[in-house]
């Protein structure tokens, strides 16, 4: 009996978590006439009309490409700069290390709304409005605390002896970092990269402020500003939502363990 209750509860939880997404998927398959009719809940005559509309009617592919480029470049940059710093913090002697760690941690607590207007003025002055660079620069820096934090934890777990041995063998600190330490920290890099990528893929406030046209617009902005003449094109929005969410759902299913590891880094160990 207890097992039945347990299973039932788990099913309810799963339904609560997946329900809204499933409903969006169902909506995306309904022809327009059925959108304004309930019941039936499931589409009576399922159609791929909305998917076709999304891919042909709007510059959707450009927007997906924008998001992909911005998110991958930000991830690569944030991880590179973050790994350097994390290696320094974990394995080298640094003056006022504690103060630097606290600075990095408090930087992650900065409310974005307090920084968006000065950054907007800088980006406007540099002529970078409506370019990929504006977003790449912003995301790289705003995700630095996350990458430094996760990677410092990973570098710390690599025994000092390994680093010292490579130094004895004649590596400079930089060589040792690139040849010995980075490969050993690969799992940490994967963890940090997934989280940074998800952040950059999903970010909205800066993307909304710094972009102006589909030339640089990312997915969240496009979905928020979905063109609708009189009524919201709910079918098209649902189709677009499904298209941009599926990669993330796959990412979560495949890298579940890494994501959990990254989210809890530091939070539990103190």
């Amino acid at each position: 009996m207890r097992r039945v209750w347990f299973t039932l509860t788990v099913l309810v939880v799963a339904f609560w978590c997946l329900g809204p997404f499933l409903w969006q998927a169902i909506t995306s398959l309904k022809p327009d006439a059925e959108l304004t009719r309930l019941p039936p809940i499931l589409p009576a005559s399922p159609t791929l009309e909305h998917y076709r509309a999304v891919f042909t009617g709007t510059p959707f592919l450009t927007i997906i490409a924008n998001s992909a480029v911005v998110a991958s470049c930000s991830t690569a940059l944030s991880i590179s700069i973050g790994a350097l710093a994390a290696f320094g913090l974990a394995k080298l002697s640094i003056r006022s290390k504690g103060a630097i760690m606290i600075f990095i941690l408090s930087a992650s607590m900065f409310p974005p709304i307090a920084t968006v207007s000065p950054l907007y003025l800088i980006i406007r002055a540099l002529g970078l409005r409506d370019t990929w660079w504006a977003l790449i620069m912003t995301y790289t820096t705003f995700t630095l605390p996350l990458s430094v934090w996760i990677l410092t934890n990973f570098f710390r777990e690599i025994p000092d002896e390994i680093y010292l041995a490579s130094r004895v063998d004649g590596c400079s600190p930089l060589q040792s970092f690139i040849r010995i330490m980075l490969p050993l920290a690969a799992p940490g890099i994967a963890t940090a990269a997934i989280l940074v990528f998800i952040f950059a893929w999903n970010e909205f406030l800066f993307a909304l402020t710094f972009t102006a046209t589909p030339a640089s617009r990312t997915i969240p902005v496009a979905i928020a500003l979905f063109p609708g003449l009189h009524e919201m094109p709910w079918g098209d929005i649902a189709a677009a939502s499904v298209v941009v969410t599926v990669p993330l759902v796959v990412l979560v299913l495949v890298f579940q363990r890494r994501i959990i590891e990254g989210l809890t880094a530091g939070a539990v160990k103190g």
Binding site: P20, F21, I104, I113, S241, T245, V252, V268
Partner: protein
């Protein structure tokens, strides 16, 4: 430890970049908040604390402040209770545990804007699935009473997974022999939870509270996309109000004043929390 080289060069790029997006904007926002700056007319005028004085008597600011505090208190407490229940449920071994944990993570990974759009559609008065299932005709996003609570419910759905993951990690490090000893002593489930689980979980709960409160207090995208701050500003949070003043009316002076206030609130809360955490870890 000896044989260590100076690592300053390694840390420098990260620290410089972070200063660029934190210290510089902070100073710049402070400076702007003492000015009247209208971007369209290219006017910049030093006005002392006029903006702050205006803020204190600005009913729309106080309205946004109240909304933000309500949103923060409601979401964080609901997420903590629900998250704790879910974490306890998932903290045992059962078949398909990995799959269930992955499913719980899904709302967290969905872009905030997408989830706001999903909920907006579910909340639709005439064609929404929620009203259909409830057999009701609630005007979720159009009524001043429901709109803010609708935003809270959406946030609870979206963010509880994060709370669950942190609490699960905290539960895992509680040694299992403590539970066994308690069971041998004849303790019931409730008293084990009260006497062992909860006290040992306090540090993690505090960390969750820090992350979530700071995040909820600066909420922007989910509510902005769901309701745009309406109806009649009943869901307008501080970040949304600041954003509108900055980028819709282009008043960079007063908008910056609002940003400074958000910053001060968040800063004060983090200092307070970190104090608590330190005291807790020491005791």
């Amino acid at each position: 430890m000896n044989g260590k080289q100076s690592g300053n060069r390694f840390v420098m790029p990260a620290v410089l970049l972070l200063s660029l997006v934190t210290i510089y904007p902070m100073l710049s926002v402070l400076y702007l908040s003492l000015h009247r700056r209208l971007l369209i007319f290219d006017i910049t005028k030093f006005v002392w604390l006029d903006n702050y004085q205006f803020l204190l008597s600005d009913p729309r600011f106080w309205n946004a402040f109240r909304n933000t505090v309500y949103f923060t208190a409601a979401t964080v407490s609901l997420e903590l209770v629900l998250g704790l229940a879910l974490a306890l449920l998932l903290n045992r071994s059962f078949r398909f545990k990995g799959a269930v944990t992955a499913v719980v993570l899904v709302p967290w990974a969905i872009p905030t804007v997408v989830s706001a759009r999903m909920w907006e559609w579910m909340y639709s008065t005439d064609f929404g699935i929620l009203n259909h299932l409830l057999g009701a005709k609630i005007n979720w996003l159009g009524s001043p009473f429901w709109a803010l609570n609708a935003a809270v419910l959406m946030d609870v759905w979206k963010t509880t997974p994060f709370v669950v993951i942190l609490l699960l990690a905290g539960l895992k490090v509680i040694p299992s022999d403590l539970y066994q000893a308690a069971r041998i002593d004849g303790a019931g489930a409730w008293s084990i939870f009260r006497r062992i689980t909860l006290p040992l979980l306090v540090p993690v709960i505090l960390v969750v509270l820090i992350f979530r409160t700071l995040d909820a207090f600066r909420v922007f995208d989910s509510v902005y996309v769901l309701t745009g701050g309406g109806p009649a500003n009943t869901t307008e949070t501080l970040s949304i109000y600041a954003y509108k003043v900055l980028f819709q009316t282009l008043q960079f002076g007063y908008g910056s004043t609002l940003s400074v206030v958000v910053f001060l609130c968040v800063g004060a809360m983090s200092v307070l929390y970190i104090r608590f955490l330190r005291a807790e870890v020491k005791s």
